[in-house]
Amino acid sequence: MAAHDYQILLERMLRSGLTRRSLLRRSAGVIGATALAGISGLAYPPSWVAAQTAPAGPPKRGGTLRYANTDPLKPLTDPATVDSLGASDCVRFVADFLTHVDEKNLPHPYLLESLDASPDLKTWTLVLRQGPTFNTPTPRPIDSDDVIFNFKRWLDPKLGTSMTGLLTPYLDETGIEKVDSRTVRLNLKAPTNTLPYDLYHYAGAIVPREFEGDFLKQPWGTGPFELVEYVAGEKFTVKARKNYWRQGADGQPLPYLDQVISIDVKSQSPAYVAGLVSDQFDVALGIDYSAYRTLKEQHPDIVLSKVRSAGTLLFRAHVDTKPFDDERVRLALKLCQDRKQIMELALADTAFEGTDDYVAPEVDPAWYPLDPPKQDLERARSLLAEAGHPNGFETEMQYPAAPEFIATASQVYAQQAKQIGVNIKLVPMPADAYWAKWTDWTFCAPYWSHRPLATMTLGLALRSGAAWNESHYADKKFDALLDEATGTVSVDDRRNVYSRLQPYLREHGPFAEPLFNYALAGQTKRVQNFKPTAFRYGIFTDTWIE
């Protein structure tokens, strides 16, 4: 198994443009390679649905690509405090990340030359690539001081970055050790298998140590583009950089494009449908189902793609508030779901069944195959009666206005809950208003973006005291299971833990999960070699237009 895995990993790395020399250096960290492979699970079930435009030939240089990301272009100051995908795209054009997770959810070293873990997953060695330079006023190559600078920022609770929540469960500032000008060692206080993925979180762009906090004033990074302008709520423009460290198929530095413009279409599907159709932009990411269907039925010349993702909708409750503090009530709320009906009406064939346990089937490689829970109205009613609500009860449920499908799914679910006597009063909210207080709502319908490993989401959302533990869930047994899962090296071991964790959450957890959805995107035929991913990022480094 190990040798076979390593072979595939080699091929992948070759395709992503690493040179021979760094490959040899790579092979010296075999444990690292296997560890990396083991974490991500190379024995990958081939159930991915990712329509790609097969590259039509040799890349063409030049041109401007315009695209729309339905996630708004929120104001941008510090890359580490970015909280919108749209704005994070801008950072990603200009600044690189230490790792890169591809469309198959496998991580690769990117700015790093290698990323190795000790067998117990508590010591990680990061070796920087030689070559990437910052486009600071006096350009200079990246070194380990920069990396340490970024890590320290991410761990600083005063900065208000989402990286803190990801890293602090296993890393403290004291664990960062500079080995030499290209090597940093992380001595973790707890084992983890999520580090390569965490480094790819959209708030984890690498800035030079001279960075003072305002990206629009100091748009510095090692990335393939340079910032021209960023107008919040409207658009941003980046132009190609001259001396990027990666090269294209023709031996010249990437990117192929001259310029990329991203436009904020304010999540209005008629706007981006019209834009795609009339050639005002070339790509639309994160499109809603209504747009997807309109394009599919009316405009066959637009190339559509749907990528399976772990993005999920929850109906979740505070476990410390009546009546949701009673497990039986929560279970009843899960049992009344008719997932097929919710999926069909909200997203049709662009969703797959939720599992009430956050682990997305065939997305997380360690997923333990369990059938999705079935609707059981009888049992739900009797559980409610047992818990003291023989006639059901009334509750509010807040939900955000975007993504579009949440409104539909919530209405359908409310109708289903009526059948067991639970009267849900729906409270739609503008997205901003909802997310401003998203942890305060007692019963609500949040959407969680795609993360390749379920342990990442579980850690953020359900670990006792975690930053994003919106349901106030505090269960020692669950914490222990989660620790077990994050501390495993091999996929098989993790699957073993999941075989216990998944049923546990389905029974005791704080949410009902009707579905996972596909990430939908559309592009015109002009666009070549762009692979939309479950992350919905706009990454056009390797893309060209006809």
Partner: protein, 291 residues
């Protein structure tokens, strides 16, 4: 005449007395456009009353596949949740036909009370109240709605409150006009000499004389209120889901126009027809009164 032309017209209306008004009302209905208006409005009132009998399904029942064209089971097709469009339009009639008169009733009562009071009291109190009043009138109604509903949140109650609040200044002005005209008449002076109290003066002596213009205004305002309810629903500021609200249904359907237009076009046309009918009625009433 000054640029307060429109308002001045309303004040002139104040001169119509009670009996003359009723006669004009009946005559007004005999015009053909009025008849059409009456027919339309009566139709929708009937639909609203008979909703439980006419609608094939409940307003929120998920009964079919989404976005279907009309069929035997679903005469006007289904919406994006697989609900019957016909049923939702029928049940939705109740929303408009209850909320619009309610808002106007509240506005007329409150506006009349304010107008009676300030017109009768006169003096600096009247000046201050009228300044505030005129500022409110000159404010675009839509902004008032936006501010009020942004503050209070979308719900049927808040829609009524918003529309009522926006209507009160105009009504107050009309009623005040009546009072100003009548203040110096002999029967008022006589009542005052008798020592009648304020509320008696306002409600017993003055209010009946304002009845005419208030009723005419009310008919026009109900048309406007229906218009506003539809618009607020369309902007997402009306009845929250899942209950049917014509404006809201149009709003939800716009993104599906390419796939199926029924869930959008039917409530749109329903609302338009109701408002047109109400306007036809109010229009013939107004022109009759003016003559």
């Amino acid at each position: 005449m000054s640029a307060e032309f429109m308002v001045g017209q309303d004040e002139n209306l104040a001169h119509s007395g009670g009996v003359k008004f009723t006669q004009s009302f009946i005559r007004a209905l005999s015009r053909p456009s009025a008849a059409v208006g009456l027919a339309i409005v009566s139709f929708w009132i009937l639909v609203a009353i008979l909703a439980p009998l006419i609608a094939p399904y409940g307003p929120n029942d998920l009964v079919g596949r989404a976005l279907q064209s009309p069929s035997a089971a679903f005469l006007l097709g289904t919406d994006d949740l697989g609900r019957d469009v016909l049923s939702r339009v029928v049940w939705g009639a109740r929303v408009v036909l209850v909320l619009a008169p309610m808002a106007v009733l509240i506005a007329e009562i409150a506006g009349a009370l304010i107008g009676l009071f300030t017109g009768y009291i006169g003096g600096w109190v009247d000046d201050v109240i009228m300044r505030i009043n005129d500022a409110l009138i000159s404010f675009p109604a839509i902004l008032l709605y936006l501010l009020i509903i942004a503050a209070l949140g979308p719900s049927k109650t808040n829609v009524v409150i918003a529309i009522a609040l926006a209507s009160i200044p105009g009504i107050a002005r009309i009623v005040r006009g009546v009072v100003l005209d009548l203040r110096t008449r002999s029967f008022i002076l006589a009542a005052r000499l008798r020592g009648e109290r304020l509320w008696y003066m306002l409600l017993v002596e003055l209010l009946p004389n304002a009845r005419g213009p208030v009723i005419v205004d009310a008919t026009l305002r109900i048309a406007y209120a229906a218009f506003a309810i539809g618009t607020l629903g369309f902007l997402g500021l009306g009845t929250p889901p899942p209950d049917p609200d014509w404006g809201g249904m149009v709003n939800q359907g716009v993104k599906w126009l390419s796939v199926s237009a029924w869930m959008t076009a039917v409530p749109a046309i329903a609302l338009a027809s109701l408002v047109i009918g109400l306007n036809l009625l109010a229009d013939s009433l107004q022109s009759r009164i003016k003559q």
